[in-house]
Each structure stands twice: as structure tokens, then as C-alpha cells.
Symmetry: C2
């Protein structure tokens, strides 16, 4: 239903007009790339509005364009009432794949044959990282993206990727269950294996190898999803995108008034340090972005927290809530 109505009308609710001109989106409204662009714009707007409502602050909205083609809209709320740093970014870029990008994709098993070695692509996605001030409100991250590459013979390869994952500072089993349940329900509507498979993939992907810890308590993660059909996968991604508000906002509201000590705040800062380690050392999107000429560094690195801390040999005492957190990160568990 929410794909009905004319494009211009729907765009009124967005944080900023879409990257692709509205007339083009209207004319090509049946195409997956247009529908996906509308979906990521809508996801950005719904999530930002929900965060603004609970915070009382306003997002700063930056439109940017990329010399090589396309652009994005970065929404950031920094040092606000509830959130230390909240970033929700949309990008719709096109051009030719760099050698490095093609190499990375081939290493994942893709066969790419370009015309004169050139591979035109379109990539679009919405991604977000929210770092709250209160250590009892977890950090959340999500990203939903679509990729299209044109091959030598004019045919198109396409795939979707994405996921949502939660990084609490302290374990709250009820929060973990709620979060995973909302994601499972979205998955189960499309395939009974999606939730169990993508839950495992998430734990495996968000793994800080040198620490022997996951970044958080997981969620779902998938990539290179290109079957059974473009329509089916899009519908699945849409179901996932629809969960970003209901899987996170109830948790924010629940802990909004939780009191906390300086020790709890310090522990949050140490965990923020680990978040930075994952993002800078392992995250594929960040590595890809930093190595891509013309990419917007500030939008890529807006996932980093406002503040972080590295204490030499920090090890929580046995039996503490901090030790309980570490234990779960070392041994990912089932939440539902």
C-alpha cells in the first residue's frame, strides 16, 4: 500500500528531496531501483522523525553530491538530549566500478564481464548508527542496500544486502528478545531460514577478531541476496526496513529515565572504543568507502561515536554486569 500515490506527494515527508529527480522516479516508478530509492528515503524519514520525537532535538540535514555521479543525504544529530550521536545516511551513487571494488566483488564469487573492462553500476542504500548518551540505552546500527551492475551484453546483475544489529553496554534480556523477535517476524514472512541464517551471519560478521568478541548482541545480516526474484527480495528488504522503528524505539523509551553512575558511563566509553575498533579495522563498508576516491568521508565516519575510551588492560571483575556483557560477546547466544 505504501508504494501507492504519486511520487511528489510521497516525497513531501522526506528529510530532503530524493537524489534522483522526482520526474524520473515517477516515470520509472515500476522499476526496482526507483522503488528502492523511495524505500530508503522513507526509511530515513520515519527513523529520523521517531528519534527527533523522543529526543526533542532536530537533525541537521546535509545534501551532498559526488563528482563521479550521484550523491546523498546525511542526517546527523549530535550532542543532543538523548543521543550523543545519531546519523542516518542515504546515498544513491553511480559510475564505473573501480578495479578495487570489482576485485572485492569477484573475491565473493561474482563473475563480472565489463565492456572494454568498464562496469557501470548503481548503488544505493540507507544506513544508520545511533549512539545514545545513557549507557542503558543500546547503540543500534542498520543498513539496507541495493546494487546493480551492467555487463558487457547489457544484462544486469543485481543484489540486495543489509541488516540491523544491536550493541548494548549492559545486557537486558527483555531488550534482546524484543529486538530479535521483531527481526524474526519480518524474516519469517519471507522464508523460514532467513532469521536463523542471517542471525548467524550477523554474529560472524560483527566479530572483533583481535578481541575474540562480537561487537554487540547481533540481529540479522545478509549480502548478495539475488533470489528467488527481484520482486521477492525487494519485498523482504522492505519488511526489514519497516522494522527499524519498532525494533529500537521501544527500547529507547523503556530506558529513557534510567539513572546511571560514572562507572557505568566509563564502561560505555570503553565499549565505544571497541565499536571504533570494529568499524575501522574490519567493517567492509568503511574500508571500501575509505579506499574509494570521491567518497564522502564524513558520512562514512559518522558511525563513530562522539567520544570513546581505551583503558590499558581493562577487565571487568567477576560477577559484575560488565563481566556478564563480555561473556555474551565472547559466546553469542540465542535471544528467542
Amino acid at each position: 500500500k505504501d508504494e501507492e500515490g504519486n511520487v511528489a506527494e510521497r516525497c513531501k515527508k522526506f528529510m530532503s528531496p530524493p537524489i534522483t529527480p522526482m520526474e524520473v522516479l515517477e516515470k520509472r516508478k515500476e522499476e526496482i531501483s526507483s522503488r528502492m530509492e523511495m524505500l530508503i528515503m522513507q526509511t530515513q524519514a520515519e527513523f529520523c522523525r521517531a528519534l527527533e520525537e523522543v529526543d526533542g532535538g532536530k537533525f541537521k540535514v546535509d545534501r551532498w553530491s559526488r563528482a563521479e555521479g550521484g550523491g546523498g543525504i546525511s542526517c546527523v544529530m549530535q550532542d543532543s538530549n538523548v543521543f550523543e550521536k545519531a546519523g542516518v545516511n542515504v546515498s544513491v551513487v553511480h559510475g564505473y566500478l573501480t578495479e578495487e571494488a570489482a576485485k572485492q566483488m569477484r573475491s565473493r564469487g561474482k563473475v563480472l564481464k565489463g565492456k572494454d573492462g568498464k562496469l557501470p553500476f548503481i548503488a544505493m542504500g540507507v544506513s544508520s548508527v545511533i549512539h545514545p548518551k545513557n549507557p542503558h540505552i543500546p547503540t543500534v546500527h542498520f543498513n539496507y542496500r541495493y546494487f546493480e551492475i551492467e555487463e558487457e551484453d547489457g544484462s544486469k546483475q543485481w543484489w540486495f544486502g543489509g541488516g540491523t544489529d544491536l550493541t548494548p553496554v549492559y545486557i537486558d534480556k527483555e531488550d534482546g528478545a524484543l529486538f530479535h523477535n521483531v527481526l524474526r517476524e519480518a524474516c519469517d514472512k519471507h522464508h523460514p531460514k532467513y532469521y536463523p541464517d542471517f542471525k548467524k551471519w550477523c554474529d560472524r560478521y560483527f566479530y572483533i577478531r583481535h578481541r575474540g568478541e562480537t561487537r554487540g548482541i547481533g540481529g540479522i545480516f545478509f549480502d548478495d541476496l539475488d533470489s528467488p526474484s527481484q520482486e521477492e527480495v525487494f519485498k523482504f528488504v522492505k519488511s526489514c526496513a519497516k522494522t527499524v522503528v519498532p525494533c529500537y524505539l521501544p527500547i529507547v523509551h523503556k530506558h529513557l529515565k534510567d539513572s546511571f553512575t560514572q562507572e557505568e558511563k566509563d564502561w560505555q566509553q570503553v565499549r565505544r572504543g571497541r565499536y571504533v575498533e570494529f568499524n575501522l579495522v574490519y567493517d567492509r563498508g568503511v574500508k571500501f568507502g575509505l579506499a574509494t576516491p570521491g567518497s564522502r568521508i564524513e558520512s562514512i565516519l559518522m558511525s563513530l561515536p562522539l567520544t570513546a575510551r581505551w583503558e590499558y588492560m581493562h577487565e571487568p571483575s567477576k560477577g559484575t554486569r560488565e563481566a556478564e556483557m563480555i561473556e555474551v560477546l565472547r559466546n553469542p547466544k540465542e535471544w528467542i
Copy 2:
């Protein structure tokens, strides 16, 4: 002169006994690997004592061993009077090169022929990063190291690497000149091209590509130094190691009582964030360490500051001292 006297006597001044048993060092006292181990231990002790004197605090001394062979001594002073985090680490490790390590060395042009593919190695070094609390006292980093690999025919390949570099939060031309002068004097005693070449290498190495900025105002950096002779290169490295106190401590003393504002402290925190970006994304030693099984993560990451900050779209106003700093990082200059 300072290599005279018996080993046991000299070791009394160290932060902890050396990794190699003293009897072995005494017996092999003419060998470069023994002399280098004594030098790195002595450098650690002299630097730590000088920092303790100015700070009033004491280093925590941790001895650690590596299952695969060798070990280290990590000295850390955290959240003290003058220093937010000061780490001075010695390591002396041996074993067989991992595939990854051999590959990295080959990519730098080394020809390595192992017996049955196995390459026994010894690696040792002293490395340090000092993050002061006062934003007018710069961060300093140095590292001096020696590497030896045994080839198929029993012959040994060896080389030295190292450098010292300064990362101020604000430009102080006098500090920059003092720092570079002390390094140049040490270099000039050995070869007139060392300072100009290694100064350039330093600016090139400590470059945060995605920011288009160097990490700091440089110093010297060199690697794979294996000529004219082991004795000559060792003497050069020794000269460099002897500069760590005189090139930094005068700067610490000069700014010890400088007052600072919250804005200056915030700018320091933003610069700390860039330090983290360089170390986690580009530093060869960190990347190598994080990827090496059995390496001591806490010693590798003790180079990270206690606290850091990432502000979205932080850009100093024109004409400010912050803008002056950025300008120098974007266009490395000559200090002497």
C-alpha cells in the same frame, strides 16, 4: 662507552630484567642481537624514568610471554598527573614467520628462501606513544627495531627500522625546530642523506589518506636499513635511540604549566580521533600485530589515547590556531 661493563650490572637499571636470560646476553655480548636487546631495554628505562620524573607518577610494568617464543615488557602510566596515557613497550620475539608476514616482506622486495618453507626469525624493538593531558604538550611516538631471518643455507638476513615523530595539537615552531634539530644531528653523524630522506619518508608514512592530512609534524622514519654494515646501522639506530629523551622532554617541560581552555581540550580530543584513525586503518605495525596469532593486543593498542572524539563535519574557522594546525598537516613543511 655505554656498552661497557657487565650485563648483569647494566640490567639493574632496567624496568625489568631483559627477555633473553642475562647469562646468554653476557656470553653473546658481541652479537648485534644482544647489543640491540640491551639498547632497547636501556632506551625503555631512560625514557620511562624521565617521564616519571616530570609526571610524579609511576609506570605499571607488565612482563608477558608469547607461547610461540619470546615475550616483552610493557610499561604503562595511565591517567596520571601530566600524562593521559604513556606506553613504552619492549618486545623480543622469535619463531617461524607466518605466511602473511613473509608475504608482506616479499611485497617490500625481500627474497626469502626457507628450509622446507620455514623461516626462523628474531624480531625485537622498543616502541612508545605518549599522550599528555595538556593540549599544549604534543604526543610523541618512537619505535626502533631489529629483524633477523635465517634462510635455507643457514645465512642470515637482517635489517633495522625505526623513527620518531611528533603530533602536536597546536603549532609551536620552536618545538618543531627543536625536535627536528635533535633528530637531524643524530642522523648527520652517520650520513648526510639520512635526515632529508627519512624526514620525507616520515611525512609519507604517517599520512591519513582519507583525510588528506599527515598524523603530525613528522620527524624521521626508515625501514629495511641493511647497509653499509650491521655495525654501522646499529650505531645509527643507537644514535637515534639516544635522542628520545632530549627531543621530547624539553618540550614537555616548556609547556608543563601552560593553561588551556575547554575549546583547546576539545580540539585535542578531535586530533586524538585522527590518531586512532591512522593507527587502526594504516599503521603497518598495528595491522601486522592484530593479524598475528599470539600477539599481545593490549601492548599493540596501548598506542591508542585514553579518550578521543569524533565530531561530524568538524572544520576550524579561518585564521584560528586550529586552522593553522590543519594547514601544516595538509602541507608538510620544513622545520629547520
